[in-house]
């Protein structure tokens, strides 16, 4: 398609004293799957609504394929959107819901039938075309909403927490389907979620938002492995933080100098060592790796593994998985334990980006 580029510049939106969007600038590439990730109140939904045209920002610019969209009414934007609670029309059946955007575009009946059927096939709902919306399950509604959003082949697809109302299994299944669909259709997709796992699974890039600002914009891998501040790191995985002290050019944990593979970004003063269960090792090389010593507090059985909680000096707590393939016995509560982090897995972040 080659089109579907979105350029957001200096967008501000305030509700009274509350700054929902605080100078957001963001480029979304044609065909890209970009996720807006953040806690509630971070501005992610507001930003999506600005793109869709439901919110008019106080200032800023929104260019779509080099055309200024900022004052364009929503019905003239040609963007597909999947709403959080699907927003299907209860007075129309499945077919009519999906056909609605085509009817508004004055497309002839035969083409409508063909394209609606096609869109419904894409989401595996072609057999239920005559159903009323009230007769559908949550997952089925989700698919219809998706079909309605893609049926007119928009260059850009917006999704506002589309999977949040589904149960866990269905959600994971739909994540895969959405990703495949995106690969197939190739439309620029802006996806809003507060679920980091969803964001990591689906996105080409993730923009982490907090208090109306983009904190970090990067690939899922980099967001996860190299968060640029404590906020982003805390949003990803089961993260624990251990305070580290900066001494000249090195960082110290419990008076021991940390071996780091890369210089911490935006971290001029004391920082935090990120500790995630899967990054910790049961064994390590005292010459090369960083050692963390503590005492086993308790052990929780998780099916595929045991989660071992370890308390450290200074009232800190971390945890590590024990799957049985480590070559080490499962420890018992009260036992002293030594755990290891490779320099590559040792990441230090500052409190916030400047």
């Amino acid at each position: 398609m080659g089109a579907g580029k979105v350029s957001i510049r200096h967008v501000h939106k305030a509700y009274g004293a509350f700054k929902a969007l605080d100078g957001i600038s963001l480029d979304i590439q044609p065909g890209e799957f970009l996720t807006l990730l953040g806690p509630s109140g971070s501005g992610k939904t507001t930003l999506l609504n600005v793109i869709a045209g439901f919110e008019r920002p106080d200032s800023g610019s929104l260019m779509v394929d080099e055309v200024e969209f900022i004052t364009r009414p929503p019905h003239k934007r040609d963007l597909g959107m999947v709403f959080q609670n699907y927003a299907l029309f209860p007075h129309m059946d499945v077919f009519d819901n999906v056909a609605y955007p085509l009817k508004l575009r004055g497309i002839d009946r035969a083409s409508i039938r063909r394209r609606v059927t096609g869109a419904l096939e894409t989401v595996h709902m072609d057999k239920l075309a005559a159903r009323r919306i009230g007769e559908l399950s949550g997952g089925q509604r989700q698919r219809v909403a998706l079909a309605r959003a893609i049926v007119f082949e928009p260059k850009i697809l917006l999704m506002d927490e589309p999977l949040s109302a589904l149960d866990k299994n269905l959600r994971e299944h739909m994540q895969m389907e959405l990703k495949r669909l995106h690969n197939r259709l190739g439309m620029t997709t802006v996806y809003v979620t507060h679920d980091q796992q969803e964001a990591l699974t689906m996105s080409d890039r993730i923009a982490v938002l907090d208090r109306g600002r983009v904190i970090q914009l990067d690939t899922p891998q980099n967001i996860y492995d190299h968060p640029n501040c404590k906020f982003v790191a805390g949003f990803m995985g089961e993260t624990r933080f251990l305070p580290v002290e900066r001494r000249e050019s090195s960082y110290h944990l419990d008076d021991r100098s940390l071996r780091l593979a890369s210089e911490p970004p935006h971290c001029d003063a004391n920082g935090w060592l990120i500790v995630r269960p899967e990054r910790l090792r049961w064994a390590g090389d005292a010459q090369r790796d960083n050692r963390i010593a503590g005492k086993v507090m308790d052990i929780v059985y998780r099916g595929d593994s045991h989660l071992v909680s370890v308390s450290l000096a200074g009232d800190h707590e971390i945890s590590i998985r024990h799957t049985g393939s480590e070559g080490k016995e499962l420890p018992v509560p009260g036992q002293d334990l030594e755990l290891w982090l490779t320099p590559e897995a040792s990441v230090v972040v500052g409190d916030a980006i400047q």
């Binding site: 869709a52 009414p73 929503p74 959107m81 029309f89 007075h91 129309m92 309605r148 007119f152």
Partner: protein, 300 residues
């Protein structure tokens, strides 16, 4: 094995226990609804049966269809048509005036909507008689409106605003408007505003979104409001009597005359029975043909 036996026994016991508790629940349900059933019988079924019974006897007390045959005379047919004409006209005007008000109320923030709602409901708190006389003061020849129009030079002769159909309809619309607005507002309030965003996102202009999404979804409330207003209009007495100048011969006026002026209970009962049956028929028809999902259109 012993474990099995121990588990089965209480299960059987529980079944009978549960069954008993279920039937007890049923009995208490009947018990709770008994006062309501008695009330309905006392205030609805018994008086109506008595009414229907009375209508079967002529003035001399003989069993006859005279009271119903009488209704085929021109005076009653005329009055019947007038009643429906007035009810239809008032309902139509209420829809035209009430729909935008209900729409505005449903779109306003809660606080503003509550404040405005007070104005909608205000007429409920004043007596119909007072309101009707107030209209007389406003509308009559030397009333406020005509005096103002005359003094401003817009008209040279007072407009005939009251003591006719115009005055009746104005007064009745005023009384009836809340009955249309309230169910309509409730239905509109239940429409998820996101649906209008979804329509816009699909490419619908605000007008299209209103016509194709909001309007169909508000139809259930509208039909409820129309049915309520129309049926109440059919039985309206006071306002047509005071503002109609004697020209608007509503069915209810005939009933009132029959009882109050001519003490002819049989004839009055026949009039009432006919009104009741027609009203019931309309409600049944509305229920039958305007069922909510069908009102929402779509494919059948």
């Amino acid at each position: 094995m012993t474990v099995m036996v121990q588990e089965v026994k209480p299960a059987i016991l529980n079944n009978s226990l549960l069954q008993r508790s279920r039937s007890l629940q049923g009995i208490s349900f009947v018990g709770l609804s008994l006062p309501a059933a008695v009330l309905v019988a006392a205030v609805l079924i018994i008086p109506f049966s008595w009414l229907a019974w009375l209508s079967l006897f002529d003035a001399a007390g003989n069993l006859s269809a005279e009271n119903y045959v009488r209704l085929l005379r021109p005076a009653y047919i005329e009055s019947f048509l007038t009643t429906f004409k007035v009810a239809g006209l008032v309902t139509a005007i209420c829809v035209l005036l009430g729909y935008p008000v209900a729409y505005l109320l449903s779109q306003l923030p809660q606080r503003a909507a509550q404040l405005l709602m007070v104005f909608v409901i205000l007429p409920f708190w004043t007596s119909v008689l007072v309101r009707t006389y107030a209209w007389l003061v406003l509308l009559q020849r030397q009333g406020i409106i005509n005096q103002w129009l005359l003094s401003s030079g817009l008209i040279s002769e007072p407009l005939p605003l009251v003591h006719n159909m115009t005055g009746t309809v104005i007064g009745m619309v005023h009384v009836m408007l809340p009955f249309l607005i309230l169910p309509l507002y409730a239905a509109m309030k239940a429409i998820d505003p996101v649906l209008l965003r979804a329509a816009a996102n699909c490419g619908a202009s605000p007008a299209q979104a209103f016509r194709q999404v909001f309007l169909p979804l508000s139809l259930s409330g509208l039909s409820a409001g129309i049915a309520l207003t129309f049926v109440l209009c059919l039985g309206f007495y006071l306002t047509p009597a005071l503002l109609g100048g004697g020209r608007v011969a509503m069915w209810s006026t005939q009933i009132a005359d029959m009882v109050a002026k001519f003490a002819n209970w049989g004839a009055a009962s026949a009039l009432s029975v006919v009104l009741l049956v027609v009203t019931g028929g309309i409600l049944w028809g509305v229920n039958r043909f305007m069922r909510v999902p069908d009102a929402w259109g779509g494919k059948r």
